[in-house]
Subunit: 412 residues, 2 copies
């Protein structure tokens, strides 16, 4: 029988609307992959009575409770004490965590104030989850058939600790293994993809297929449950092939991280290099490329030419061209890409120039108009995109995605 | 006495992690402004028994219940029926809403299928909230001293209906307003800040002070409750001054967005310009600067010199210097900043070179070692940072923060 879970976030800042409870979204998605049904999300403030009442309620209605937040060093971090009281466990100092904390502070050349020691206390006889992104460890224990897991609140700490600590703990509760493959799609919306696949998806039971909408792309997760990994993979293979036969031309990768890592892999396979020239994206392409470890094997560098002076002076875009067509134009995009390719000495160069908003530019080009060019050994191509009146962030990310998609298709 | 609220979101897609419960964040922030204490967020699936149990619990512990979602035309939209059953109200057809729906569909040239009529049903004797962004109206009623408000799930519908319908309804219930100021701190951890302020924080009741940890910085929110904004501000002023007298030297702004926007504002005030030269941050500084609308008034552009060829060829860093000291060195950082300042024609230039990981570089420089330089009209300074073995993302963000903090302090 499937486990039933409740997520309890502890944090007055969530109840004040200062932050969004993204942990709940991240964990819910992961738990669904593990075949655990999430029945409730609950948020309470930094208030021990209300947290205690929420825990008492949760232990009656689910068998997996995951708390997020309230594990830090300050006086309002009371998740551990409250859980220990509720479940009748001692909150004890874990000497190896104390040593880890002291070493961590020493390595950073910082003094460890006494309140930090609170983080080395965890319920006795628990499974410790180490925190590779922060100072508050998490943990899990089982009491009366109910598994209680505590994770830190900051999303980057929570997500990493789930992967390294909580996920293995939860996987061990079930006999079956659950294996997923993720097909990543760019250039086709979630609802269109779902329409194309609906009948097939509805017929499937194991594996199952779930579409997810991401901000500027979408993905399909195909998940199978079986006695072992090999059996699960045998179930997955024909299902993935069937989906690819329908929507394959928009799928840029299976179990890949993102468009930029697909580009970098393709460049490395060819022994080719890349440069960027960015106006409205202002460094976003370069930033996303260099988010990928090992990017330096293919990415030489880039120029953020946020002003015409830099376009002309550094990228050698002719001033006459800028005067005639303006910086937001196809000729400018082409000249920027070709300039970056030459100046930075790369095989390929991507350029982006456009209007990210919030206002139209001084030549009256509307918000959302973006030119994207790719200079390659066999010539330059340019795409004109109209992303419409969306947010600055959306237009910039969409422009970067389109640029990477252009490069990916050329390298295929 | 202040009203106490619970937000109940109804939607299996939230429990599956397909969407984030942003309605809860939007409503919480608005309710705080109205002086209504939000004590709980709850999410249940499209399941009438569990929704009913959540409503029964909520009516015992709060006096304002706001539901989001489940008002639409499909079979899983069961919020209204369940609320009517729980609170003993009839769900009745509102003829004026039926007419409005029929007109709406006619105006869009679409056929109104019968299930849409379900949206014209609302509890009898309720206050109707019109939906200007969709087809599902919301409403409010009071039963046994508990106010129940129903809003639609899609965030743009929910937010607008709150403003036009729910907010006026709730304002009529409450006397107090709540006003907050946020002090943003860089260079001092949450626990150290709290240690310095603990006694003062514990003594305060109105305003209250709450510390929050952000990924690489922290903030203090000072919140006062009073009869009107002026009275709240009068309470806040001395509290903010007192906090600044203790931790002011790490506070980079009050009610500001982030370090980069503080830098850009300071540059604009001086009529000065900025350029960047980035190695390990790979465009992150430029990206963060250009996330800020209007950055072009001060930011000229940058060079992402991810390879030595680009450092030498574009930034004019002498090859001999790179050969002798390596790219990860103080001389290289200084030469990069000075090169960017000259090549990009800016008053100030920031440079970053270091090892973001996951591996040490080929000269044996450890992960986390980063040199950050600032070239200014009155000379160049350089900071050596050791961020330790953290994630690549963390080291890069921390390097960017340190660079912006260096500039901010120089411009002060």
């Amino acid at each position: 029988m499937a486990h039933r879970a409740e997520l309890i976030a502890v944090g007055t800042e969530i109840l004040l609307g200062s932050i969004v409870n993204t942990d709940a979204q991240i964990l819910s998605e992961k738990l669904a992959e593990l075949g655990i049904d999430v029945l409730y999300h609950t948020v309470v403030g930094d208030n021990p009575e209300r947290l205690r009442a929420a825990l008492e309620l949760a232990r009656k209605r689910v068998d997996v409770i995951i708390t997020t937040g309230g594990l830090g060093p300050t006086y309002d971090d009371l998740t551990k004490q409250t859980i220990c009281e509720t479940f009748g466990r001692k909150n004890v100092l874990h000497p190896e965590l104390e040593q880890w904390l002291r070493d961590l502070f020493a390595a950073r050349g910082r003094t460890m104030t006494e309140n930090n020691l609170q983080q080395a206390y965890l319920p006795e006889n628990c499974t410790v989850f180490h925190n590779e992104n922060g100072t508050a460890p998490g943990c899990a224990f089982c009491e009366g058939g109910v598994h209680v897991l505590m994770l830190p609140g900051p999303p980057h700490e929570c997500a990493l600790m789930f992967r390294t600590g909580a996920e293995p703990y939860l996987r061990a509760l079930s006999q079956d293994v659950i294996v997923s493959h993720t097909l990543r799609i760019y250039g086709k919306g979630e609802s269109e993809v779902e329409m194309l696949l609906r009948e097939r998806i509805e017929k499937m039971t194991n594996p199952t297929v779930a579409p997810y909408a991401k901000p500027d792309e979408c993905m399909l997760r195909v998940t199978a449950k079986a006695a072992n990994r090999e059996a699960a993979e045998a179930l997955l293979r024909p299902a993935v092939d069937e989906i690819l036969s329908v929507v394959g031309k928009w799928v840029y990768g299976v179990d890949v991280d993102n468009l930029e890592s697909v580009c970098l892999d393709a460049l490395k396979r060819r022994g080719a290099t890349l440069a960027t020239a960015e106006s409205c994206t202002g460094g976003l392409l370069a930033k996303r490329l260099t988010d990928v470890p090992g990017a330096s094997a293919a990415f030489r560098g880039g120029v953020v030419s946020y002003t015409n002076g830099v376009k002309a002076g550094v990228l050698n875009v002719p001033q006459a061209l800028l005067d005639e067509h303006g910086a937001v134009s196809e000729p400018a995009a082409r000249a920027m890409a070709e300039g970056a390719r030459a100046v930075l000495g790369a095989d390929y160069a991507l350029s982006v120039t456009g209007v990210a908003g919030p206002d139209a530019d001084d030549r009256g080009n509307p918000v959302g108009l973006v030119y994207i060019a790719l200079a390659a050994p066999d010539g330059t191509e340019c795409r004109t995109c109209r992303f419409g009146r969306r947010t600055r962030e959306h237009i910039r990310q969409q422009a970067a995605n389109t640029a990477f998609d252009l490069l990916r298709r050329r390298l295929e």
